[in-house]
Amino acid sequence: MALAPVELWPASASAYAREIDRLIWSYTGLILFLAVPIIACLVVFAIRYRRGSDADRSNPPVHGLRLELAWTGLPFLATLVFYFWAADLYSRQWVPPKDTLDIAIVAEQWMFKAEHPGGQREIDELHVPAGRPVRLVMTSQDVIHSFYLPALRLKQDVLPGRYTTLWFEADTPGTYALRCAEYCGSEHSAMGGRFVVLSPKDYAAWLATFSVDRTLAQEGEALFRRLGCSGCHGARSVARAPSLAGISGKPQPLADGSIVIADEQYVRDSILQPKRQVVAGFAPIMPSFEGQIGEEDLVRLVAYVKSLADASAEAAPPGAAVEPPR
């Protein structure tokens, strides 16, 4: 039986991953610096002061305040460096840059489905362009899964009933692992597949191999009509409902006086539980679509509402979308 070569270190496909590696190596250095003296002292003391040895045992110390403060305080401060380093990386991972390529991930037992903005769909694989920030908007149809990309040193749990997001910028084209990291039942270990980073050119070529007739947003638009949303939200509707053009990503004033950012989660909630966050100035007449729209259709509707933001920006006079220099 031939053994596959050992993998002692995971491949890295982003600057972030390499920084995590740097962090780990320095951290390991510190840990050795803390652990080795303790273990060495244990061994040396145990041998030197073994019963019957004639080592000097005069005035054995029994306590020492200075010593206690030193050997707790100094290692603690040293490890705090890594607290800040790791916390800083984590916080940066929290705020995606502008203009990300948004890909929707819908997980279910036991597969990950990805929907690209152009309408391309893949299962258990994720193709992304190198050098461009990608943002995954993820949800699950059943239990909790976790989207794990070891080559990027990133993972994020995928929950039913809500969106979680993960962004990254891969820079090294290649094929890497995609795994499910949260235990999700029988085929948990088989859930996952390939994570493929392509050069922008190859990515474009890859996208073109699909014969899709509609983008995600266009599919959403069709749904928007079919489900009757346009009856209220359309331009010529009789019911008094807010226009959805341009809301995406903008602050929305609510009837209870609070203000929320209209992100994917908000749009999703507005469709499923319209009464929970009512837009200021409107009556709560929108019916709940709970149980009538699957996760994948929701993704399309959300993409459509998001596309309305871009559309309104395009419709505005050229230049107006760009902030004037201050």
Binding site: L3, A4, P5, V6, E7, P10, L23, I24, Y27, I31, L34, A35, I38, C41, L42, F45, Y49, R50, R51, A55, R57, P60, P61, V62, H63, L67, E68, W71, T72, P75, T79, Y83, W85, A86, A87, Y90, Q93, W94, V143, I144, S146, Y148, P150, R153, K155, D157, L159, P160, G161, R162, T164, A177, R179, A181, Y183, C184, G185, H188, S189, A190
Partner: protein
């Protein structure tokens, strides 16, 4: 102040009192005894049984993982194996291991009392433990449970079609047994200390059991309620954690870890108490900075309640929560550090005898340092994002739970065995077993750190071939480890009959438990002890060389 050796003994002078072991030999005399020492032996037997059950599951897991393909058992069986392994090892072995056996046996002896405050309650907790065990046995026979020991919803509440309800009920039941034991310890330590046994004369073992008991009493009920909610969801169709009904699966995780993080300190604090006793007894020196070591236990118990969400850094929590819980996890390392440094300093200028219990204790310290410091890796936000739910975590907790606590358990077993049964174990075999356990352990679990960082997720029945070599090493180590656990089992049984008589104080140790006969009489001491010395008065004791005649 110097103590004459006669003052040290509260052993019966002249005529010998019958030992607790000879107070009846019928099964009934054991099953109905409220003697804390007999209850401790009942626990010892049942806990050992569960340890072997959990170990068999571990052996099957390791055998399965020798090859990348899932070829030994089916995926569902594998899931049941690690769930059962985790559930049994955590709730039926490790949590009761040291407290319910050695705590039970020793706390009254150490504080100079005749029994625990509520002896009948003590026996009752054992029966409750057995009842919980019966639930688990039922689960085993009926076909198992596959949720992982963490019972995450909505998998456990809506999707799993195994025996979740019975398993959860078993854990709730055994939880009540822990609660009652903890309650008993707290009351005993508060009210039954012998005259002169002030708080600062208590052995550190009692301090750490006190801290453990506080966690048992305050955290376990939260677990009980959480699991009952899961049961209600499965049986009645309630929706507390059901996202389809507006419930929040993360609420489950918060509640579960609010218990389970403090619970990991339930698993380590008693071990820390044991190691303190071993280190002082075998260095023949007072523990370095008694007060710091004592208060460190309390600090661990207290801060331990404030770090639970470090298990949820990628679960979808807010950034702010992540920053706070990460920081608190760094803070909880400080009292652990105090303990480690003070143990090391206790050896300095001591009179060290490298007997088997000390070998186990030294193994504990070394492996705990590695396990604890890798806990700090996990507590660091960006690092945890990568290694969460990988073998890195598996290695971290086995280093502490197996490398540290199980070693402490074996150390305690060897150290107090002469006191419990009145006979010595074979020292040579014991040293060999201790060394074997240490090295077997390292071979089993060190490769798992590398596996985890390389991206091998946990709870994987089959895995990519590039991880095979490391998994094979790990399985090989597990074989050695299994042998190292089997050995003591055999020679301790052997010593029951053929071991040399131990004498009252074979180690020349200072605790009150060594100042009565081995095994102790039914009411522990011939005369009520009056304590006039500080803890660990080794500097005032007769030279240890004289005390042990080997």
């Amino acid at each position: 102040m110097s103590i004459a050796s006669a003052d040290l003994a509260f052993a019966p002078a002249g005529e010998q009192q019958p030992s607790y072991l000879s107070a009846g030999h019928s099964l009934r005399s054991w099953l109905l005894s409220t003697d804390h020492k007999r209850v401790a032996v009942l626990y010892l037997v049942s806990v050992t049984g569960f340890f072997f059950l959990g170990a068999i599951a571990a052996a099957l897991i390791r055998l399965e993982l020798i090859t990348p393909a899932g070829d030994l058992v089916s995926d569902d069986t594998y899931d049941k194996l690690f769930t059962l392994h985790g559930v049994i090892m955590v709730w039926f072995f490790l949590i009761p291991s040291i407290p319910a056996t050695f705590g039970n046996f020793l706390i009254p002896l150490m504080i100079g009392a005749t029994d625990l405050a509520f002896p009948r309650l003590n026996l009752l907790s054992w029966y409750i433990y057995v009842l919980g065990g019966l639930f688990t046995a039922y689960v085993l026979l009926a076909g198992g449970v596959d949720t992982g020991w963490t019972f995450y919803t909505p998998f456990s509440s809506l999707f799993s079609n195994t025996h979740v309800v019975a398993a959860a009920c078993g854990i709730v039941v055994v939880g009540f047994s822990s609660i009652l034991t903890g309650l008993n310890f707290i009351v005993t330590i508060h009210t039954l200390r012998a005259p002169g046994m002030t708080w600062f004369r208590l052995p550190i073992f009692c301090w750490s059991h006190y801290a453990t008991s506080v966690i048992l009493v305050l955290a376990t009920p939260v677990l009980a309620m959480t699991l009952l909610l899961v049961v209600a969801e499965r049986v009645l169709g309630l929706g507390i954690f059901d996202p389809n009904k507006g419930g929040d699966p993360l609420l489950f995780q918060h509640l579960f870890w609010f218990y389970s993080h403090p619970a990991v300190y339930i698993m380590i604090l008693p071990g820390m108490g044991v190691v303190t006793e071993l280190v002082t007894a075998f260095a023949k020196k007072r523990v370095f900075s008694y007060a710091w070591v004592a208060f460190a236990s309390i600090a661990i118990a207290f801060i331990g309640f404030l770090v639970w969400a470090h298990h949820m850094f990628v679960a979808g929590m807010s950034l702010y929560a992540g920053l706070v819980f990460s920081f608190m996890s760094f803070a909880v390392a400080v009292p652990s550090a105090i303990k480690v440094y003070n143990w090391t300093a206790t050896l300095y200028k001591g009179r060290v005898s490298l007997d088997a219990p000390l070998l186990y204790a030294l193994g504990f310290i070394g492996l705990f340092v590695i396990g604890g410091l890798t806990g700090l890796f996990l507590a660091s936000l960006a690092v945890d994002v990568h290694v969460h739910d990988t073998y890195f975590v598996v290695a971290h907790f086995h280093f502490i739970m197996v490398g540290a606590t199980v070693h402490a358990y074996f150390g305690a077993l060897h150290f107090w065995w002469p006191k419990m049964i009145g006979r010595l174990y074979p020292e040579g075999w014991a040293k060999a077993a201790a060394l074997l356990a240490f090295f077997g352990f390292l071979v089993t679990f060190f490769p798992q750190f590398i596996l985890g960082y390389a991206g091998m997720p946990r709870r994987y029945h089959a895995y990519p071939p590039e991880f095979q070599v490391l998994h094979m090493i790990s399985s090989g180590g597990a074989g050695v480890l299994g042998l190292a656990y089997l050995l003591p089992f055999l020679y301790l049984l052997w010593s029951l009959r053929w071991g040399a008589p131990a004498g009252d104080n074979p180690w020349g140790a200072a605790g009150l438990e060594w100042r009565t006969t081995s095994p102790p009489p039914r009411w522990n001491f011939a005369a009520r002890p009056v304590v006039t010395w500080e803890a660990y008065p080794y500097q005032d004791m007769p030279k240890p060389e004289a005390a042990r005649g080997d």
